[in-house]
């Protein structure tokens, strides 16, 4: 008892340390698997590190992927506070990105850069938000399970974006399935240090946004309502917190944030909407939120970790003989397992206690 009092660490810090240790454990096991595959773990690690941090361009790309995962991770973590599991990040982000591309077409007359960015941001947020709010509404009104409805909304989103990309917003000068390119006022400029990687001030804005969201969810009445609904819907309702309002608002904000992917991809990278630009970033967001244990601030390091793995995946294909990008997916899976296996820690502490008893 005395020992544990001496070593008392704040719960949140402890939880963070556990996540880090879990992630490290997962990575270690992943590297062991390389050995079985016949590749030296040292080489794999070197490739991963070099690929993510090796040059200004590499690091810029890592941050580029990180920015996706911050958004999609938040889109899972926020509804989770109110007890909902949002699997619809993928659909919400495609709709948001399409809306950003639409804003570029509809706002072709805008001349101010700031105004153009604001317009596109609003379009992406609102479109994604509505896409997220629909399952929220169905849950509130009809009790439809959000896991089912958000997944179905992903398919609908894919259909809707295909239509707009192939017909309404199609770029007549292109043979690809993509929308009309944005004018330069709508384009986000990358930092020169990143040597051509499509990443600029946006990553800073996203980090600030995450911190603000953390404070808002923790300290605001709205955040309290979400938490109370997520914890005990009946008790919340008995004391005047209506679950439908919590569900609707958390899903709107989550969808909106997923929709901001439009800024990363459309405004920052390809300057148009391309079908299939997202390689399941919305689903990776579930893993990001899981590794962050639903903690809003934890999304930042977690998204960065997944950014590194995403960036390294391509290089593993090229620079090693025996392993491919699939290894990074194995590592991702092992990291999630490592972080999620809470029971291990209780097991450790019970052994520790027995030894000290």
């Amino acid at each position: 008892m005395k020992n544990s009092e001496k070593l008392r660490i704040p719960q949140s810090a402890l939880s963070f340390l556990r996540s880090v240790a879990g992630a490290a454990g997962g990575l270690a096991i992943g590297l062991m698997i390389c050995t079985i595959a016949g590749e030296s773990p040292g080489k794999v690690l070197t490739v991963l590190v070099n690929s993510s941090f090796g040059s200004g361009y590499d690091f810029g790309m890592t941050l580029f992927y990180t920015s996706y995962f911050i958004l999609t991770g938040l889109a899972v973590a926020i509804p989770f506070k109110s007890g909902l599991f949002n699997i619809g990040g993928e659909g919400q982000l495609t709709i948001g990105a399409l809306a950003a591309a639409w804003a570029g077409v509809a706002g072709a007359g805008i001349e101010s850069h700031a105004l153009a960015i604001l317009f596109a941001t609003l379009a992406a947020f609102i479109a994604g938000g509505i896409w997220g709010a629909i399952p929220g509404y169905l849950k509130a009104r009809r009790g439809s399970h959000e896991v089912i409805t958000t997944i179905m909304m992903n398919f609908i989103a894919a259909g809707v974006t295909s239509y707009f990309t192939l017909y309404a917003l199609k770029d007549p000068d292109s043979s690809q399935a993509e929308t009309i390119p944005l004018s330069t006022v709508f384009q986000l400029k990358p930092f020169a240090v990143f040597n051509g990687a499509p990443m600029g001030g946006l990553i800073i804005a996203l980090a600030v946004m995450t911190c603000v969201l953390h404070l808002v969810l923790r300290n605001s009445v709205w955040g309290y309502r979400l938490k109370a609904t997520g914890e005990n819907e009946t008790a919340a309702s008995t004391f005047g917190i209506a679950a439908p309002a919590s569900w609707l608002s958390s899903m709107f904000v989550a969808g909106g944030i997923a929709g901001l992917t439009g800024l990363v991809e459309v405004l920052g990278n390809s300057h148009r909407f391309k079908i299939g630009f997202s390689s399941d970033y919305g689903f990776v967001g579930i893993a990001v939120a899981l590794v962050a244990r639903g903690n809003i601030l934890g999304i930042l390091p977690s998204a960065f970790l997944f950014g590194v793995l995403q960036k390294g995946a391509g290089s593993l294909d090229l620079e090693t003989d025996k392993v491919t990008r699939d290894l990074t997916y194995i590592i991702q899976g092992l990291i999630i397992l490592g972080v999620a296996s809470d029971g291990i820690w209780d097991w450790f502490s019970s052994i520790w206690r027995k030894r000290n008893a």
Binding site: N219, V221, K227, T238, F239
Partner: protein
């Protein structure tokens, strides 16, 4: 012969000693009561016996032989069975399948026919009749589910049956049936250990009673040689009174006082427990009791009064609070209008169990200008007030950062009551304030309620404990079939007359 004997059993969890040198004997073929306050270590002792938490030191004897029980399967093989407070049943499965689960008679096939025949014989022997073995358990009443649990133990040929707080979830009629069954089981030679903190029940049906306080045995008494005040003193460690001993302020001109709450011809239809044309007035400085057998409209009345907007569709009638219409209001509006609420079930309706005391204290007050400003919570202040309430109500453990799910029932309830009283409400709706609460805490909660009355608050008290209502109330409404069947006024509370009206008869 002794069925069970504990010799100096000690069980520690980390630095916390749940049982210290616990010693007592349970005679074969008796009903043995194990009583103590919440958290005294009764359940731990039984979990030690059942092999869930093996003891750290000490000996356990079964039929006078020292045994070492390391897991529940082992315990079951030794003839010990346990009915947990929360039943361990698979809802969608049938009664039969639930009973034989893990003990199917056949090797390849289940052998349901054989099992059913055997069960019929058992049920007949012990008088636990069941007409349909193929009904899903989820369709049964709580009392019937409990009977399934008991049958499960009998089917496994348990000789010692442990029942953990078996009456907490039962209606009075079901309680009567349960004890009838237990007496029959005893007559057939079974040994029963009853964990409880209801003194009346253990005194009425047990042969011998062992009292535990803070993990230690205080002593054992024959039921015929003790009484409730001795047991309560043993449990709490000081004298406890079962009736309110403090001052009861007399208000002059009660008949002229303006009512705080006025309900007239309130009906809530299309629910499982409808309310029919209920009218009453609640005045400052009085405690108005709501009595009745569970399910006669009291729950609906409480929900309607505390959350009218939820019943807007089925609402008819008038609900005035200080002269203002409240039909259609939500709980936040009512709170601002001066309503304090202690809901029926603190676990499902009153608390966020994975949150600390401060967060729970804020529930329902999160929009109160004292605790929030500009859409943000004033947590530092809420925490300071929570700390002062912890002192005022003697809530334990006394730290605002403790999760409420880890607190005992009595302390949880004190927090719920402290929260209801915090804004200095003009009217209080209090439901089952002492349900599942031990004697020491009951005294404090009763004191707090009457003191609020003395301060001129209007209190509507819902309870299934007639003794509690008779002790605290100024007037009492008896509900039957969704309506008020009779009204009684202090001091003319005749329990027999009230009981007759509760059953639908006349006074």
């Amino acid at each position: 012969m002794n069925a069970i004997e504990f010799r100096k059993v000690t069980k520690k969890f980390g630095g916390f000693t749940a049982n210290r040198d616990l010693s007592f004997t349970v005679k074969k073929g008796s009903i043995h009561g194990l009583i103590g306050e919440n958290g005294a270590g009764k359940s731990t002792a039984m979990k030690v016996l059942f092999g869930i938490h093996p003891a750290d030191s000490g000996e356990i004897l079964i039929e006078d032989r020292v045994v070492r029980i390391t897991n529940p399967v082992h315990a079951m093989r030794m003839g010990i069975g346990m009915v947990h407070q929360h039943f361990m049943l698979a809802g969608p499965e049938t009664v039969l399948d639930n009973i034989i689960l893990g003990h199917e008679p056949g090797r390849v096939f289940v052998g349901r026919a054989r099992a059913e025949a055997e069960l019929r014989a058992i049920a007949k022997t012990y008088g636990l009749d069941f007409d349909r073995w193929d009904r899903p358990v989820s369709e049964l009443s709580v009392g019937e589910q409990q009977r399934v649990e008991i049958l499960k133990l009998l089917y496994q040929k348990s000789k010692v049956l442990i029942l953990d707080e078996p009456t907490a979830v039962l209606t009075p009629q079901e309680v009567k049936d349960l004890f009838g069954n237990l007496v029959r089981l005893k007559e057939e030679g079974k040994t029963i250990i009853l964990i409880s903190h209801k003194l009346k029940e253990v005194l009425g049906y047990c042969d011998e009673i062992t009292v535990i306080r803070r993990g230690e045995t205080v002593g054992s008494r024959k039921a015929s040689e003790t009484d409730d005040s001795e047991l309560a003193r043993m449990m709490v460690g000081r004298d406890v009174s079962f009736t309110y001993q403090g001052e009861r302020k007399v208000f002059a001109n009660m008949s002229d006082a303006k009512p705080v709450v006025r309900v007239s011809r309130l009906s809530i239809t299309s629910t499982t427990e409808p309310l029919r044309e209920v009218s009453f007035e609640l005045k400052p400085g009085e405690i108005l009791g709501v009595a009745g057998v569970q399910g006669n409209g009291q729950s609906t009345l409480l929900r309607a009064l505390s959350h009218p907007s939820l019943h807007a569709k089925n609402w008819s009638g008038e609900y005035l609070l200080n002269g203002r219409d409240q039909s259609g209001s939500d709980p936040i509006v009512l709170r601002n209008a001066g309503v304090g609420l202690v809901p029926e079930d603190r676990l499902s309706e009153g608390l966020l169990l994975n949150q600390d005391m401060t967060e729970n204290f804020l529930l329902g007050q999160h929009e109160d200008p004292r605790y929030s400003k500009g859409g943000f919570l004033l947590r530092t202040k809420a925490r300071a007030v929570t700390e002062s309430k912890i002192k005022e109500f003697d809530i334990r453990p006394p730290y605002p950062t403790v999760w409420t799910g880890r607190m005992s029932g009595g302390n949880q309830q004190k927090l719920v009551i402290a929260r209801a009283l915090d804004p200095g409400p003009s009217v209080l709706y209090v439901a089952h304030p002492t349900r599942g609460v031990d004697v020491g805490a009951i005294e404090k909660i009763h004191d707090a309620i009457v003191q609020e009355r003395n301060r001129g608050k209007a209190i509507l008290l819902f309870s299934s404990e007639l003794d509690e209502l008779m002790d605290l109330c100024d007037r009492m409404l008896v509900f039957y079939n969704g309506g008020i069947r009779a009204e009684f006024a202090r001091p003319d509370f005749d329990p027999w007359a009230i009981g007759r009206v509760m059953g639908g008869g006349d006074r």
